[in-house]
Amino acid sequence: MTSIILAIVIGAAFGAVLDRIGATNPNWIGKMLSLKNLHLMKTILLAIGTGSILMFAGQMIGLVDVGHMSVKTAYVGVFIGGLLLGAGWAASGFCPGTGVCAAASGRKDGLFFIAGGLLGAAAYMVTYPAWKASGMLDAIAGGAVTLGTVPGSKYEGITGMSGDILGIILGLAFVVVAFVLPERPMGGGAEPVPAE
């Protein structure tokens, strides 16, 4: 029961924040991915940095249970799947999480995205054995690994560096990039009046 309450609280907070930063709005996604306006990119980079610093600092002082980490396996299909997701994300302006939120906030094209997504996921479920047989789902570079070695974690590191310290350093690097990244790298004069 506790886990259901947490799902409702954290899920609702996530959906509301995605709405408020413009991530559920294909206008902002399109402007970001065509490099016309990187406001959303700066938001996302700062979020990854903030999350990383808080998580690793929390693990160092014992506030965060290292067992909560969930590191996915690296394999060739991760990159190929990333390419596919990227192409569809750019074309539609939605990714899985923002698509369902967009549909919920009244975007009818978001409903078509979800319908296509359910069919795409089903198509993968059917073709999964072929991918499995191709070897492209086999772990590479150690599989489920982190860049440094996180103390107390069940995942190995690809370097012997302290995973906590490295996580905080990389977190700070994300924050710095968020600050230095220009909002409008291509220039292009004044911002058009935003939609809505």
Partner: protein, 183 residues
């Protein structure tokens, strides 16, 4: 209007931190598979079956990793599935609290209209095909923008960086070709 990136970034980062502190890193795309499984099992109850150790499925993907997806299909009231429903509720309430979307935006975003005109059918077709490719790719990769890119890179996972490299390598050229006007 959207939040200033500094406020928005810290808020979003805090939500990702909260998830890892209290439960586990955020992820979404698996739930498309779970919903497919629920629909499939309603049509054909042989799809997911109970075993002595847990659950299994006639579909190899649902049955993999000891049937953990099959188990979620059989028990939809689990954390990750409710999480996605709550996300939708949160986005809905947040949108309504700021006055909702205009009729035009509800049909298609301004950036689409500026580049491809007013045909709703065309926009819906691309949203549908886009959704197909996005979820096929996300399942092949084993995660999406939230699970791989945000949660993954936040944890310094190698797979998160590999995924982000692929996603942006395709997304930026496609967006630059398709969206020449800002809307």
């Amino acid at each position: 209007m959207v939040l200033n990136w500094k406020t928005g970034g810290v808020l979003l980062g805090f939500v990702f931190f909260l998830a890892v502190l209290l439960v586990k890193p955020i992820g979404v795309s698996t739930q498309f598979v779970i919903l497919d499984g629920i629909i499939g099992d309603a049509v054909n109850s042989e799809l997911v079956t109970k075993t002595e150790e847990g659950y299994t499925s006639t579909n190899a993907y649902l049955a993999k990793s000891g049937g953990k997806y099959a188990k979620s299909v059989a028990n939809p009231l689990n954390y990750s599935f409710i999480f996605v429903l709550a996300m939708m509720a949160g986005a809905f309430l947040s949108t309504m609290a700021r006055g909702g979307l205009s009729k035009d935006e509800r049909t298609m975003p301004a950036i689409w209209r500026a580049n491809f005109g007013d045909s709703a059918a065309k926009r819906y077709a691309v949203a549908f095909i886009g959704g197909f490719i996005v979820l096929y790719g996300a399942r092949l990769a084993g995660g999406c923008t939230s699970g791989h890119m945000m949660s993954g890179m936040m944890q310094t996972a190698l797979s998160g960086y590999l995924f982000a490299a692929g996603a942006f390598a395709a997304a930026v050229p496609v967006a630059m070709i398709m969206y020449k006007k800002e809307g």
